[in-house]
Structures are given as C-alpha cells and as structure tokens.
Symmetry: C2
Subunit: 319 residues, 2 copies
Amino acid sequence: MTRDSRLEELYTAARMYYGDERTMESIAGELRVSRSTVSRMLRDARDAELVTISLRPPEAQRVEELARRISRLYGVQVHVVPSAPGDDQRERLRSVTEAGGALLDEMLEPGTTLGIAWGTTMAALLGTVRSRPVPGLRIVQLNGAINTEGSGLTYIATVLAGAATRWDATVHQFPVPAFFDFPATREAMWRERSVQRVLATQREATVAVFSVGAFDAEVPSHVYTHNYLTREDLSSLRSDGAVGDVCTVFLRADGTYRDIALNQRGSGTAPDRLLRIPRRLLVASGSRKALPLRAALRAGVATDVVVDEITATSLLSLR
Amino acid sequence: MTRDSRLEELYTAARMYYGDERTMESIAGELRVSRSTVSRMLRDARDAELVTISLRPPEAQRVEELARRISRLYGVQVHVVPSAPGDDQRERLRSVTEAGGALLDEMLEPGTTLGIAWGTTMAALLGTVRSRPVPGLRIVQLNGAINTEGSGLTYIATVLAGAATRWDATVHQFPVPAFFDFPATREAMWRERSVQRVLATQREATVAVFSVGAFDAEVPSHVYTHNYLTREDLSSLRSDGAVGDVCTVFLRADGTYRDIALNQRGSGTAPDRLLRIPRRLLVASGSRKALPLRAALRAGVATDVVVDEITATSLLSLR
DNA sequence: AAGTGCGGTGCACGAACGTGCAAGACTGGT
DNA sequence: ACCAGTCTTGCACGTTCGTGCACCGCACTT
C-alpha cells in the first residue's frame, strides 16, 4: 500500500463522514472494515490535515457583511476591522492603522514607488510597519506639510524616515507648504525644477496610501489643528460646502472639488492625478469621517479601503 | 438577549469544544447549563458557520508542497495544478490554462494594460476567460506573429478579439513578423512610428502573460511548427545552445539570451524589457517544457507561475 | 522451520453524544 | 390577571463513538 493511496482511502472515509454526515457504522459497511477501523481512519485523516476544523469568530461575519455592502456600493475592495464595544477612538485608530499597514505591506513589491499623503492617520500607520527590506522602494510625499508657524517638517521627516529605514526605501520629500497664501506662488513653484521632479515621481507612484480629513473628527486631522488654516480659510471652506479632505484637497459631500477656492492654493495631489496611481489605499477611522469618506469614495480616489466597524456602519447609514 | 451576544456564547462553546477538544459535559459545567444545551449550542454554532469543517483532498497537499519548493528555489509565486494519473497532455494543458486564466482574471483591474505573448498555450488560456468587463483594459501583443507563409494573423486576431470582447478591452496588435529575415529590417521597423507606438504601449503594460516554448514539447509550440523558422534557423539555435523561448526570444538553459544570433531578428519582448512589467504570469504545461521553464525562471521573467503537477515535478528533478 | 517484533484489525465496554418529550419560562394579547 | 402560543431547558433513553486488549498476518531473523 503506497502512502498516497492510503491518503486517498482516508480522504474517502473523511468525505463520507464529514461531508455526507454519514455514520461510521454505515461507512464501515461500505468499505468492508470494522467500525473501529473507520474511527481510526478518521483520526488519521484529521492528523494528516485532510480535514480541518476552523473556528471563525462571529465578528468576522458582521465585518464581512459590512465590507460586502460597502464594496458593492462604491466598487472598491474593503477591509472592515472589527471593534470591540469597549474600544475608544484611539484604540480603533490603532487597530485600523495596524490592519492598513499590513495590507500596505502586501502591496509593496520590489521597485514600487509609494505615494504617501501626510496626516495623523498616516503617522500612526507608518509606526506599525515592520522591518522588511523592499528593494528599490521609493517613498514620495503627495502633499506639502509646511504650516504657518515653524515647519512641522521635523516630525514628518522623523516618522517617514523611520518607515523608510525599516523598508530600506529612499524618501522623496515635498518641501512646500500644505497651502500657499497666494495661488500665484503655487503656480510659480510648480514651474520650479525641484518641484517638477517631485511631481514627476508622484506620477510614477504605483501605490498610494492616504486617509480622509474631517472638519470635526474625534481625533482631529492635522490640517485643522496645526495652524495650517486661518479662520478665514475655514469659513471659506464652509461656504464652499467642503466636508473634508483627501491629500489636503477639499471635497464636497458629492465628491466634487474643482471649484473649491482653497484648492487653488493647496499642494496636495488632487483626485484626477491620484486616479492615475494603480493601487490606492484609503485608511480611515472615526465615525465623524464617514461623510468625507463617502465623498472620497464618490470621487473614486480609492481602490482599497480599510475602516473600523463603527465607521463602516456610519458610512452605510448615511442617506 | 441580543443576537450578537448569543453568537458570542455559541462561539465560546465552539472554541472550548473544537478548539480545546473538551467534552460537552465539562463545558456544560463551566457554562452552567445542561450537557444537552451544549450539544444544541454546538449544532447552532455549526449552522451559523462559526465552525467550518473543510475537507482538503490529498492532492492539494502534494501540490502545495511542490509549489513551496519551486517558490523557494526561484523566488516566484507558484500555483501547481493537480493532475490525475490518467490525464493526458491535452487534459493537463486544459486544466493549467483554466487555472492560469482564473489567476489572470484576478490580476486585471480597471485601467490595466495587459501584455500577451502569442503562443499555443495563450490561445487555450484566452479561450477560458469568462465574460467580465474590465473598464479601460488594454491588451497589447508582446511579439509579432506573422510567419513566412500567409499571416497567421487571422487566427490570432480571432482569439484575441474573443477575449477582448468578453473583457470589453481594446486590442493593440503588433503587426510584424515573429522573426525578420534581416536584423536591419527589424532595426528599421523599430524606428517606425507605428511600431514605436506599440512598443510604447508594451512599456506601459502592468500585467504580462506568456508561456515558454520548448523545442520538443508534447504539444508543439507554434514557433517550431508553423513555418516561423527555417531548418537553418533551427540548427543555428541548436549551436547557440538555446533550449526554448519566452515571447519568441530564445534562452539557454542558464537563462542567458543576449548573444543568441536569432534574437537579433525576433520581434518578441526580451527579458530585460519584460522585467519592467510589474506582474508577469507564466503559464506552462508539459514536462518537456521543464528545461526552458527553468531557463525562464533563471532569467527572472516571471513573478507568478502556473504549472501542472507533472511539469512541476520535472522542473524540480532537473539537475 | 520456528521465533520475534510490529502494524493493523475486530471485539467489547464505557464514555460521549443526539434527540423526543414534557415541564418551565417568556411574550403578547385579551 | 389570565391564557394561549412559542421558545428554551433538562431529563432520559437509545445511538454513536473512542480505545484497551487480544488476535492475526506479515516480514525479517536465527
């Protein structure tokens, strides 16, 4: 008796027992052996891992159901991270960025150019990356991060550099303000070769990762707290109907953004340019982000989305 | 009692029973219910699919073991298709192309540019694609297919068009000979704008799919049977030590190809250009293909490989 | 040819399990 | 407050299952 044909027999017995839910007695009759032999065959089949019994926690089902519905509505791949009832917003952000980081890690292959839009969520996400060299990985910032007081650059540079070290990647920083004071400056800068070089690298990105900002998120977005915007800016945004931002480009609830005044002065990568990046991962946590998240999805900026369960529920309950 | 908390209880019981292999009696004691209740809880847990019992045919294991070994040796993702002992070569080709087609389908996302190298295997593979529109999908031929008598184009065009229809894709044909008679003609043509355009599209490919040709495969490769090569060509190849081809570019057993004379006249995409395509799927069936397959893997042309079990075994038994 | 060790098999018994049944708990209506 | 209907639980019984033990056949040794 070869090893293989024995496995075949074990498999047959296992199929009759677990698959067809027959009794050992009846299987024994058919195979012309004693019932105890069948009992032993089944044990061996389990040991040989011909039969695997897997447990799936109930949250997996809730979460898959949510993911399916969002996926159907907006045509994106969705990963919903389960959140225990007790979890506060910080804990949910942690688990979402962890899941997002793992997913991002899967997307990186040798030679990838990765675009990153700066923000609170991304800082947390980059903190989760484990050490794994990705040959030829380039990281390029998708938006400027300098604000009106001091640069804010050091913090960003530190976090980016940390991740870059663990991936063994090169970083292409984008040393411009998040928002210029005058549209003309932006236009002028965009003609500069140093900026052109970064913009070119952005165009070569094959993977992008970013979040959405909300005006009143639980964990406030960088843009709305760190002196990036004046009071006048905020009221201008409100009157333009903006609900949040992607890559520091502001969006209305319906996903439009072109005629929002402030966008003329922002340095972020707008949806039309983002859409040229093949794989675009949006990571978001916080039910307040549901509205801008929907705007982002309507603008089609993401191919993959990672959200926590509560945010997913909020998103689906928007009317 | 909410629906969710009941599921939690069911899950707890299921974990204790199937996970920790405890007896219903003991679980009943801990949960302070009767044993029969536990029995019913377990039934409900199974019904709710908190517990799934899956059967894995023994061939899955053989196949995964082979895939793991090849994967480790050549650093590619491998899918080995099991073949029943009775299967002849045609049947194996069918199952491999079917699996390859399914894998390719997963790789296609909106906006993909797909490079296809023409050949017998690809014809079979394209025949398996199911109808699923992929917005913005472009298909570009990676090698010319015209031979010395008649064009051979109609057949290719038909098969390509069939797949393109089912994907709702546009086809960019490459209307040049598989092999020019004179290297100079190739150089001249390569300067033509019409050819340049196709070459540019090839460079934009994000997914490539191709097979390997072997001099003496069971199902003979197109190139060696359809008047693509003269007797002189074949003897020249032999003296250059070629063992087969990828994309109608000939390779030696060690994966080198640059100084093989005939390659100066071929229109196929050479490994160096192929390597710039992010995702490269190699589909091959037939133990005779093992040698050129190894050459292809040594040249690093594939990121993903689909082979049948027998071919995989042959590949691993090469010394 | 007899001896020896070993993997596999059936028997028999006790443990583990599924399920019909009746009693109790709960719900919603009068 | 009472009742009818439904759902849940525990009990009891018959079934199904795991396993220690004795036995058998085979291979290999002496």
